[in-house]
Assembly symmetry: C2
């Protein structure tokens, strides 16, 4: 195992912090690089915080794996971030949020754990007028039913169509998120539900991007669903939930520049190259530390 | 960890065999289910053998991961098959063959280890007249250069165009290997090399399917490369290499029906469902044993 640098290690000398304290980092975890879309929203919403982002790139994708395996991998990642002294944990992966949140909460104890499903469901319920909502997600997230339940808890009259759109993950990872191939795959998954055009009572008025890879594909999805359907993702509502939680706990960091420690379990060059697109700012390969979980 | 059944365990009582003996199983290993195309050829070529097939479905795909990680995962899988008392090991994964074969040979000791790269290169060199060969493979296989080297060793005047066609792995896994989406993605990867039509000196006359997932995509690839280009894969030549090796070692099984033990590291239902297509015969979910590596 390659050791983490002491950059954000609270046990190292220097201007660091005890776990749970104001200046401790916010831990962010994803199966890979998709969660960087959530980190992007967190950086915008919380400009004074320090973040430790861990992408389990050696074992992605999570979305085709069994619930038991996803829980086990999620706990490994949570433990690694706990060792860095994080003050809260953001599970920026829909699949891990949908099946692993309870197990992570039991592990992490009193520290706040925020997933992306509840904020995503919140965003969808706010955006939808008709209550007919389509959820695009991985095979595992769809079969677990967490989005469907989170939406129906807020809006019992909602109609939810959950679509397992697994191939879009590989497409985004490959950097092919725009253009005719992306559109043809989006049409493959969404065509049957949306053909006939928006406005019909049987067509959803809102699409939830229930995987952190999917915001990159929003233009291709827009081309299929038409201009009137609302496309929402959980990144911004998750960032707001984290802000509110830190504020309520009295552990928000009120001053200082933001900092990010990037950690991956494989392929630091690939993480930096493709991750830069998801984050919307450059990540250099030597900024990414490699660990084995 | 869920224990393997004693079905092919040489330490269990019953009509089993000591490691290395004639009736010991042939171990076959892949990152997932693509290697079942190789098992299919093995079953046709070696109708009296017993096989233990291990798919590391919890950690696939290997093709986007670093060489170090692929080697580590491959050694875990080889150890698990060694524990079953296999008499030889077939590495039915191009990525693992391209970076992990030497390490596996060092681990396995005197038992034969057969990869798919050398047989694939052999098939390509036999099929090509012009010596201009295109190799379609994963990112890791292409960047490692093993196919290019194996072809040039046999045919120093060959011209090899190696193409990383990663998205085709997810496409085959998703069961979308035929139809307009498969063709549009095949065209994305192959169009520039093959446009102008076969017959031109600058166009390869042979395409090697350098990933065990790709035989399922042969019709889509054919639609792009045209009718005159030869499409070869390593499944049959690998099966012949295994047959020759067992025969040379005097450990071929000469009578009795074939048997297969299926082992996966995740998702036995998915393994059975999608794997049946790759194997060309039904696999039932309860035939697949789950282990943790």
């Amino acid at each position: 195992m390659i050791r983490l640098s002491a950059a954000l290690d609270p046990t190292s000398p220097g201007p660091t912090a005890a776990p749970g304290s104001t200046s401790a980092p916010v831990g962010v975890f994803d199966s890979g690089i998709g969660g960087l879309t959530v980190l992007r929203a967190l950086l915008a919403e919380l400009p004074h915080e320090r973040f430790a982002y861990l992408g389990d790139t050696a074992r992605l994708p999570y979305g085709t794996k069994s619930g038991e395996t996803v829980v086990r991998y999620s706990l490994h990642a949570a433990e690694a971030l706990l060792d860095l002294g994080v003050k809260c944990l953001v599970v920026a992966c829909n699949t891990a949020s949908s099946v692993g949140l309870q197990a992570i909460r039991e592990l992490i104890g009193p520290l706040p754990v925020i997933g992306v499903i509840e904020p995503g469901a919140e965003a969808a319920c706010r955006a939808s007028r008709s209550g007919h909502i389509a959820v695009m997600a991985t095979e595992r997230t769809v079969s677990g039913g967490a989005y469907q339940q989170a939406i129906l808890r807020r809006r019992p009259d909602a109609r939810v169509d959950a679509l397992a759109t697994q191939l879009l993950v590989a497409l985004a990872e490959e950097g092919l998120s725009e253009g005719p191939i992306a559109e043809s795959i989006a049409r493959h998954y969404l065509g049957a539900l949306f053909e006939g055009g928006a406005g019909s009572a049987s067509i959803p008025d809102t699409v939830v991007l229930g995987c952190t890879h999917f915001p990159a594909l929003a233009p291709a999805i827009r081309a299929v669903v038409g201009p009137r359907v609302r496309i929402v993702d959980s990144a911004e509502t998750t960032a707001c939930a984290v802000r509110d939680e830190l504020s309520a706990m009295g552990i928000a960091r009120a001053s200082g520049a933001s900092e990010v420690q990037y950690i991956a379990t494989d392929g630091t060059e690939r993480f930096a190259r493709i991750g830069s697109r998801f984050l919307g700012r450059a990540i250099l390969p030597d900024q990414v530390e490699l660990i084995d979980l």
